[in-house]
Symmetry: C2
Subunit: 255 residues, 2 copies
């Protein structure tokens, strides 16, 4: 590229970079008054990617202009394609690691929207703010379907001799038995232990609680080879494991 | 929802989850033989989100079927919208934190494709494998344009009294002066220090090198309040800072 062409390209590039700053409100992009860079999705794709990259944190509900977008994302194929992609990467990683005969090579899975889907629940309430009583009612029904690509990874890991722990922020006292039954009915069998929130961790953030639980595993000699969750709070903190896999979830945020 | 409706929904949901496993190859989705869930983008949106969420790691080039997609993403608006969204979140965070008068409240910015854009370079070579000589030639031209939304964040932070460090994996000996000149010409002025790779860190991963540099800052008393980079290797490791912001980059991967 000649230097004049480069200089012209440079100017154009800077103009392109300026345009959206001047004319686009990145979330409420329907408000923009310049037709060029207006997205068709009201900025909801940008928002979803920010959620997955952990740039968007602490949000209490899906932005109102994105409720329809998130419904479409979850139910019309893209969620399943994204999920399949993540599981392909997990499978490729599993192919590279072997489980030692000592039984201490472990994987950790989150439960809600990692092993079991709450899509019906959240879609019915239009992804509104967290409602602990309504969620408890839903979870008590034991009707959360398995997320099958995750079940397949779980099964592969069991077959390969890994020790699998399920780690859930659900309250053990009130939801322990129904969660275990739901998991069993959906095919999640043979895992080492379902670790749930005991009274002493009530009110603590998921990140703190899960770090403490993983620390217990490591203290017991386990080597956490992989960690699968739909929230960054499953995948950050202490003893996160050699490799983490972020399952897509634009429905809610857990700190 | 009645229990029969729920059961029916359950079956449908499981079927939906099964379909893409049976019929879609998540990356090379053009090979699928079931028309329903076939994506128009050959799985490249899924791939891009996996890059941003750090699920796809260690890739040497953009997948061949995604070169056109990445070009379109970078040049037709979505990259700029995504970037604007991340900067909005960074600005909201900056509004919440104050810089102490002791000058020790710091931010760290990566350089390549965080402060300065290499889009022209990578697009011209169709996002091919890393070529250190060609990249050195490109960088020596001092022609990388500023990424203006990041420059705006940089300027805001300087105005608010934060101490800003630029941390680049570029080789200091060969590219130190031209990098500093390029930054200056593009408006990145007044930062505390441009920290580049010295001979002792040659051959080390960016993650290790940058962790060591940030550790030096923390040892010198700085409190890293924010950290901005386009690679997860900028944002993970030691002393990453109170909050990290991932700038989109589906062009290349740095370990």
């Amino acid at each position: 590229m000649g230097s004049r062409t480069l200089a012209l390209g440079h100017q154009l590039f800077m103009l392109l970079l300026l345009l959206p700053r001047l004319f686009v409100n990145p979330v409420g992009a329907r408000q923009c008054f310049w037709p060029g860079p207006s997205p068709e999705d009201a900025g909801c794709l940008s928002w979803r990617v920010m959620v997955e990259a952990n740039n968007a944190r602490g949000w209490r509900t899906v932005p109102s202009q994105c409720v329809g977008y998130v419904t479409g994302y979850m139910t019309r194929g893209q969620y399943l394609r994204d999920l399949a992609g993540v599981m392909e990467h997990a499978s490729a990683y599993v192919d590279e690691v072997a489980a030692d005969a000592d039984g201490l090579d472990a994987w950790v899975f989150d439960v809600d929207d990692t092993c079991l889907s709450n899509l019906f629940y959240y879609e019915a309430k239009q992804f509104g703010a967290y409602d602990p009583l309504a969620f408890k009612d839903w979870a008590s029904k034991r009707s959360c379907p398995a997320i099958l690509p995750v079940l397949q990874l779980f099964t592969t890991l069991m077959d390969k001799g890994f020790t699998v722990f399920l780690l859930s922020g659900r309250d053990e006292e009130s939801l322990g038995s129904c969660t275990a039954e739901n998991l069993e009915a959906e095919g999640f069998s043979g895992y080492e232990r379902l670790m749930m929130r005991t009274p002493e961790y009530r009110g603590q953030s998921s990140s703190l609680f899960k770090s403490a639980m993983r620390q217990q595993l490591v203290d017991a000699g386990y080597r956490i080879r992989g960690n699968v969750g739909d929230q960054w709070s499953d995948l950050q903190g202490d003893c996160v494991g050699d490799r983490v896999f972020k399952i897509p979830n634009p429905m809610y945020f857990v700190p």
